[in-house]
Symmetry: C2
Subunit: 210 residues, 2 copies
DNA sequence: GACTCTTTTGAGCATTCGCTCAAATTACGA
DNA sequence: TCGTAATTTGAGCGAATGCTCAAAAGAGTC
């Protein structure tokens, strides 16, 4: 090796992720990327091959970051159900503090690149599927610990939760009042915790197996 | 007047809506529109002024269509709560039958045009706000009829419901199994109906006022 | 300092973008 | 049948798009 790349690949990918996350794939031009990464076109293509590839690296990074925060919360909380509820609230609190885009990048991409040829849209949907599977594992764990009735269907609960979360992040885009948003996250968190109180034959017995 | 336009403006707008709905704003080129509307660029600009204007007309149309179906269901059902639940299921059933794009065009647009200058994104968010207000009216009606406890907060319930619906439509994009989707709609419908059984001091007392 | 290998540079490619406008076409009244 | 005004046409505009590549610049070895 005779010359090291002067840029920090990690920070560069972070900036690309931030930009793509906020503007989406199509609305982000190479001029935008050149400015954000402080690199000239040739360097960008030498380092990342194409706009498409760079976008997919940004997607992968986004997924990894989100999973990291989630697993952290899960590890530090006794009850899996409580961890899900806490994470929901934490998610909104973070978005109120950070200048990060409010909506989920995976959901955004899945929608933007729905009928557009290319792998990026399908890739985003694959990541979403993995997130859903992880939620199902957590619900299964909760059931094994007796937090959920035996009749509970982890996959079904996971889909319901994931749909709610994606809806929450879409909602974050149109609403800015912190109080309202925290209330919404709280309502969803309560619905998760209420699953634990069910199985008594009482109300809120949605999402049973079969 | 000496020459009538040969095209049917209503059908033309429908086709434009379908195209924008499915591909989004940026991924839809004028070439695509020319083909879908069977019009040459000059005619399109004479009739609709610009791509942006045409897109906003498509948005308006989408909102009107959705509102129409909703109001119809509401009018034909005794209980407002039941109407909401039925409409939720109806929505998914329709998407399974029709070849229409699965995701809500308003949510899609709100996300795609989040950080992009222009009015279209804000307009989509304004329509979403109107939908939310309508939901709140329906919940208020349910409360007035005694279907909900006096302590219920219609606006809060409306936000929760709307977030769930948007999440549902995002979910529709990644999942295609009809059984799974109907199950999900059913779970959400049940959560709406469960609100009616609350107020007994039992579980599922989320979304109270204050 | 000269040589080598790697990386950056940026002018500029081909293509596509949204859009315009002078000319051709059409349907009506006289 | 003709004149007229509204409408359609499509070649093509200027600008922007994603991207390339020959040349320049830098970091290491001797």
């Amino acid at each position: 090796m005779t010359r090291a790349a002067p840029y920090d690949r990690d920070k560069t990918l972070d900036r690309a992720m931030q930009l793509f996350w906020s503007k989406g794939y199509h609305a982000t031009s190479l001029k935008d990327l050149e400015a954000a990464l402080d690199m000239r076109p040739g360097s960008i293509y030498a380092a990342f091959k194409s706009k498409d590839t760079l976008f997919r690296l940004a997607l992968e990074r986004y997924h990894a970051r989100m999973a990291e925060v989630f697993e952290e919360k899960l590890a530090e909380t006794e009850s899996p159900l409580q961890a899900l509820a806490d994470w929901l609230r934490l998610h909104v609190e973070r978005r109120l503090r950070d200048p990060a885009p409010p909506a989920c990048m995976l959901a955004k991409t899945s929608l933007e690149l729905a009928d557009v040829p290319g792998e990026a849209g399908a890739e985003a949907r694959a990541y979403l599927r993995r997130v859903g599977e992880r939620f199902a594992e957590v619900f299964a764990l909760a059931r094994a610990r007796g937090e959920l009735p035996d009749s509970a269907d982890p996959e079904r609960l996971a889909r319901l939760l994931q749909a709610k979360i994606m809806g929450l992040t879409v909602f974050l885009q149109r609403e800015t009042d912190p109080e309202v948003l925290l209330m919404l996250a709280d309502d969803m968190a309560r619905e998760v915790l209420a699953l634990g109180h069910a199985g008594t034959g009482a109300p809120a017995e949605h999402a049973r197996q079969g």
